[in-house]
């Protein structure tokens, strides 16, 4: 009965002290003095404003990437009780007391610290010795650039963390594959791979490169599985057939499991980031005008306040404002005012001298137009309202001046290849009014669709000349009050957003008389229904805007080219103390970077050598060592290549920190190459001991460089100008030296 007492209760815990020690060291190196400097450092000025907007629940669009990274930073702010009240206007500004600097910087720092044990584990999973793994972890630990980047409110360290996590979990999964497929931990690591990948992509689009690398690796491994002939050769035909069908089923299961974990779950997670993002940010804010009217109407405040309760269907007699869908260079509404086009332009061309029609970027009573049936005189909505449908012919009457929107074969003021658009004034000359427009709903579902407020995107095709009403994007000179030019495009080639308009504000006109109507136009719209966009519609629009939004200014003092990164010709000054010489730079550990480059070079040359020799059936190293060499290189050198080479094709402004994920992979390659050299190329004992001595010496040089540059990494202690000058190892480094 008490038999269980006969056996002692034993808890065996296996603790890898190396790993624990490394983690503790990493935490110390990343978290030490995290609140210093208590000032805005470099891109914190950029990410900080988004954190503030999250705290205030105000909608924004950031074209630099998807929202997951921003949300993680905001989580730090939320946990620290940040209220979002800080003006992020310049680098170096002191934080006010309400900003929880420590908790804002904590998450990136933790992510940066955990990269160290991850690196250790990755090397172990690649079947390298614990010694090599220790080396890799130490190199990551002592890498100045990674330390700098993870100590501030920036995204790269989080990105690198997820990338390494994805790689590690894939390796764990793959190593479990051989003996215990479909067990609990197999599923766990497989799913974790997918989750980590989508998190990496969710932080920055750069994560996509690693995701693709892992997908390719998984595809390759699966391809090998298909060709696995072990099963089919064992037994007789009958049993073979049975096993074969069994094998096919299990192959299918394997395929489905991978597809689920590596494609479907990441996509779902990616969508969920946007879902949370849109759920959190429900107030209108500074970037509203980038989005379509429908999107704006779904945000609290802003346009929604105006359009709430508008009638949905545009009818004859409706009073509307028309917004151009393109939203570039600014959002604007179709507009007219009593001024006319000048008789002659500065370059001597003539105009029709009729009333100007422009696109105006501000809300104004002159933006109101009335939809009129050409066959009837009245400008009010009949009861019941007669809705306008796709293909109907309408006239558009300018509300305040009651003139008709018109276009004719006169060259437009700034785009002479297009027609001038005007509000028609009858000068009693032989230029008749041509004011009939056909309404074409671009996003219709059927040809009898009704023209809807906000939702319908409409093209106005001129009946006489089949010109299309278009925003040319040019801004008129002084006589047009610098408003935007609107033209009739004769050669309308396909769909372009500059030719598409949507109704934004809308009400059914009631007043018969012009005076009453003017009063009506000035009063705010109020009526009955509300419009809600589905999540997918919002997601598609936001995603599209993020991908297509382009920042004009591409010049920056610290921008660099991709080639500068490997040669270590560039640095970024992150922060400078307002009075002393204390400063923080993003600057790599020279010893590590140089040896990482060397490792990559050695790896390439050796691989090429082996490959050529193997092709001639000369096997220099045993087969399993070769497999190890290939798989480790595929991950480390491959990771470096996919995270680095695409930058040569990119046209955006590049900074040194874009190289950090690549350099992390490159650093992992160093111990791989060193162990290979020690195991297979240094055959004699003497050579081996020489190599170990070399490694020790080299490690101390890495540590020495780390210590030397740590004042620039941590920003303290402050250095004197001669000391700073001594740190300028390369002429191209921009170390700030104060002139006294």
């Amino acid at each position: 009965m008490l038999g269980f007492l006969k056996e002692p209760v034993v808890v065996t815990a296996e603790i890898n002290v190396n790993l624990v020690a490394l983690t503790v060291l990493a935490l110390i190196s990343r978290l030490w003095g995290l609140c210093y400097p208590r000032a805005v450092v470099f891109d914190e000025v950029y990410y900080g404003q988004f954190v503030s907007l999250y705290m205030k629940r105000i909608f924004f669009v950031d074209d630099s990437g998807p929202p997951f990274g921003h949300m993680l930073l905001a989580l730090g702010g939320y946990l620290g009780g940040f209220d979002g009240n800080f003006l992020w206007n310049r680098i170096g500004a002191e934080y006010s007391m309400n900003v929880p600097v420590w908790s804002l910087r904590l998450l990136p720092a933790l992510a940066g610290a955990f990269c160290v044990p991850l690196a250790y584990q990755i090397l172990v999973e690649l079947h390298f010795s614990h010694c090599a793994a220790l080396g890799a972890a130490l190199l990551i630990l002592l890498e100045n650039s990674l330390i700098t980047q993870s100590r501030f409110m920036l995204l790269e360290s989080i990105l690198i963390f997820f990338i390494l996590l994805a790689v590690l979990s894939y390796l764990k999964f793959y190593n479990l594959q051989k003996h215990s497929a479909f067990c609990g931990s197999w599923w766990f690591w497989l799913l974790l791979t997918g989750v980590a990948c989508s998190c990496a992509v969710g932080v920055k689009y750069m994560g996509l490169f690693t995701y693709l690398l892992l997908l390719a690796t998984a595809g390759l491994h699966f391809w090998h599985m298909i060709g696995d002939q072990n099963l089919s050769n064992v037994c007789s035909t009958a049993c073979k057939r049975y096993y074969l069908s069994l094998f096919m089923v299990s192959l299918l299961c394997h395929f489905l499991a991978r597809a689920l974990a590596l494609i479907i779950i990441p996509m779902g997670l990616y969508l969920s980031f946007f879902y949370v993002h849109l759920a959190l940010l429900y107030r209108s804010g500074p970037h509203d005008q980038i989005m379509t009217s429908a999107f704006q109407a779904s945000l609290e405040g802003g346009l929604a306040r105006i359009t709430q309760g508008q009638p949905l269907e545009v009818a004859y007699g409706s009073q509307i404002t028309l917004r151009n869908v393109l939203g570039k260079p600014v959002q604007c509404w179709l507009h007219s005012h009593t001024n006319t086009y000048p008789i002659r332009y500065e370059n001597g061309r003539g105009s029709s001298h009729q009333q100007q029609v422009t696109c105006y970027p501000f809300k104004d009573v002159n933006n109101w137009w009335i939809v009129k049936d050409p066959g009837m005189q009245q400008l009010v909505v009949s009861n019941p309202p007669r809705p306008v449908r796709h293909g109907h012919i309408v006239q558009l009457v300018h509300g305040i001046t009651t003139r008709y929107l018109n276009t004719h074969d006169v060259a437009a003021p700034l785009s002479p290849h297009s027609q001038e658009v005007s509000c028609y004034i009858d000068y009693n000359i032989s230029m008749p009014a041509q004011n009939l427009w056909r309404v074409e709903i671009v996003n219709r579902e059927s040809d009898t669709d009704v023209w809807k407020t906000i939702l319908s995107e409409v093209r106005f095709v001129h009946v006489n000349t089949s010109a299309v009403l278009k925003l040319s994007g040019a801004s008129l000179p002084e006589w047009g009050y610098r408003q935007l030019e609107v033209v009739g495009e004769k050669l309308s080639k396909g769909y372009h957003q500059s030719m598409v308009w949507n109704v934004e504000e809308h009400r059914y006109g009631k007043s018969q008389e012009q005076k009453e109507r003017e009063v009506e136009l000035h009063s705010p719209t109020q009526m009955d229904i509300s419009k809600n966009l589905s999540f997918m519609a919002k997601f598609t629009e936001l995603q599209w805007k993020i991908l297509t939004l382009k920042n004009e200014d591409t010049e920056h003092k610290y921008s660099s080219s991709a080639l500068d990164w490997v040669t270590m010709d560039t640095n970024i000054a992150y922060w400078l103390h307002p009075t002393s010489g204390a400063q923080i730079h993003l600057l790599g550990n020279v010893a590590t970077w140089a040896s990482a480059n060397a490792a990559a070079l050695i790896y390439l040359c050796l691989s090429l050598w082996y490959l050529l020799r193997r092709r001639r059936r000369i096997y220099d190293i045993p087969e399993d060592a070769w497999q190890l060499w290939v798989s480790a290189g595929g991950i480390c050198a491959g990771g470096w290549a996919v995270n680095y080479l695409p930058f040569f094709l990119m046209e955006k402004t590049l900074f040194l920190y874009h190289y950090l994920p690549a350099v992390t992979f490159q650093i992992l390659l160093i111990p791989v190459v060193l162990q290979h050299l020690g195991d297979h190329l240094c055959r004699s004992v003497l050579l081996k001991s020489m190599l170990s001595a070399l490694i020790v010496a080299w490690f101390s040089s890495v540590y020495f460089v780390y210590c030397t540059f740590s004042p620039l990494t941590y920003g303290q202690p402050a250095l004197s100008p001669p000391e700073l000058r001594a740190l300028r190892w390369k002429d191209t480094w921009n170390i700030l030296i104060r002139k006294h």
Binding site: I226, P329, L491, G494, H496, D553
Partner: protein, 786 residues
Amino acid sequence: PRGERGASARTLAAAALIAVPASLRARRLPSTASPGLHPPACPAPRPRPVPRMRRARRAAARGGCPRMPPRQREPRRGPGGPARPAAPPAATRPAALALVTLLSFASRFHRLREPPHVCWDETHFGKMGSYYINRTFFFDVHPPLGKMLIGLAGYLSGYDGTFPFQKPGDRYEQHNYIGMRGFCAFLGSCLVPFAYLTVLELSKSLPAALLTAFILIFDTGCITLSQYILLDPILMFFLMGAVLSMVKCNSRADRPFSASWWFWLSLTGVSLAGAMGVKFVGLFVVLLVGLNTIYDLWDLLGNLSLSLVTFGKHLLARVLCLIVLPLALYTAVFAVHFAVLNRSGPGDGFFSSAFQSQLIGNNLHNVSIPEHLAYGSVVTMKNLRMAGGYLHSHWHLYPEGVGARQQQVTAYLHKDLNNLWIIKKHDSDTDLSDPSSPVEFVRHGDIIRLEHKETSRNLHSHQHEAPLTRKHFQVTGYGINGTGDSNDFWRIEVVGRKTGKLIKVLRSRVRLTHVATGCILGSSGKTLPKWGWEQVEVTCTPYLKETPNSLWNFEDHINPKLPNISLDVLKPSFAEILLESHMVMIRGNSGLKPKDNEVTSKPWHWPINYQGLRFSGVNETDYRVYLLGNPVIWWLNLITIGLYLLITVCTAVALKRGVQLTSELKELSRVVLHAGGQITLGWLLHYLPFFMMGRVLYFHHYFPAMLFSSMLTGITWDALLRFCAVFLSPSTTARKVHGGGFLALVLLILYSFYLFHPLSYGMIGPMASNPSSPMAGLRWMDSWEF
């Protein structure tokens, strides 16, 4: 008898082994004894005259020997690749080729004269052809070979180069344009036989080759693009030539270093040079050939029966024919280009001053000026960015609200007295024009002052923002009669030179650093508004990046105290000219950016034939030609790509699983994987890169890829029909499926061509949207504009 046996191409197994000459067979099939090795003893069909292809096939099917038993193991094949099935009857092949060629020429030369006015880009390329005839220098973003050939064709056919080619729609009147059009149409017609031969070589199947040829003959897009004075037919001619000779060379792998092997290998190199010489898009076919060569070499390396010396010979032969030869030819093209164009013309301004001094009629030609700059020299400074202007100033001030209200400094593209500046010392204002004072040269690193000659104001900068580039500083003219302040001091530095060195006219690339703020004088390339006379903005940039925007050279140089040297001394070497023209072309290409509100063609539009290009005519009464692919053919191509992927995946998985295939299926899968793979790679290489290009794209950029896509269609459908036939056999339906399917496809193509031929051969009358038009009902997509 060989032909007869070959006609049984469908019963490949037997044919393959019978047709290979005994000597060859011995080498290719190693003698690992296995039951299926030897051809089944089946009686060879009796020789019979076979006049027609179809009859031949019928005969073959009837007389074909029984297929091999399915479980038989196929012998391991040697490195020379699998055994080839024999050729179709000797008589049909030339007949088919002749038919295809004839149809191709007929379709391209039909109504070549129409319309008798300038169409679309003829305005550019016709004009450039004329420039060659007139020997005036011009600039274009493409390499010169295509335009040179057009010029040559015009010259030989008696065109005198006097037609101005001003804008599309100009009538040719008495000018002889038919020679140039005929030349392009000739090259365009050659595409069809080229594609036919390529597919025949790859798939060894006459139906596949014929299908490809019919697709290309009856595609309205290919016809239209071949009928005008354009670069595309020339480019595609060289491109297909390269592919064909590459494939031919591959098929001679069993006879390396034979005469025909050398011929095709060097022809590949020549075609590559031609393709690169016409447009930079030729680079993609270079890539294709390069990848093929690497694969080839890799294969040879793995062949242990070849010694390393032999391998070295192979390598050397390829380096010689595919790298050295094309490079030499490509360079020669440029040498001819610069030798022919020796007169000043519209392209001068794009090139550096040193280059301009080479052109007859340019004001830098044959002049002599002092070589080294000295204080007191009067100079003009030219910005080094492409089409960069001269540093310029005039009496007008910057308007209110734009920086400080001082005198404007701009960059101006034309020669003008206001471009002249005097170099002065920063600290002394002695009159340097006094002939007795000693000459003092300006040296690298000196601090100087630049005084505008006409207005006597100094080049000046300060910490006000520049008018357009807000992050840069404003540059103004300041001071009265040369007296200003310390913001007028500039340090002059030559790129890549040490302190104390003299500064040379034209050759030195100079940077001017503002002493007080540390910024660099540069031209942003943005055009100023009306108040700045639409000249180009000049700023002082605080970003110390070395770009051509912030580099200048001295062009004119007047100093009576210095001895003049002839500019011929400064004559740039041919290598420098070559490099410079490439830089200018590349920059010109990347400068072709679409504007914000412009509707542009997107790469994904192309394979679905989303939208064409108007070649001629807009209104109802015009003669209208519209470049649009035959939709039936293009959609067939599109479907085929999906189909091909499906077949490939199935075949690859089956092979990977080690499924035992009959030799017939094996040969088919080789065609699908190997030949189809090669063609697909070509398609990808000619299509995908466009997704990454920032420049303006047009529909006709897809046509090289379309050639590959059509070849893939031929190969895939033929393979698919054969697969079907194999699975249905030995019933009689098998050959009917193949023949019927092939016939149906050809008829479909013919009928669609009948429907859409007016697109190429011209439409007059109401637009297609009008029900009375002959094209009514054919506007299947709203985006088509005919």
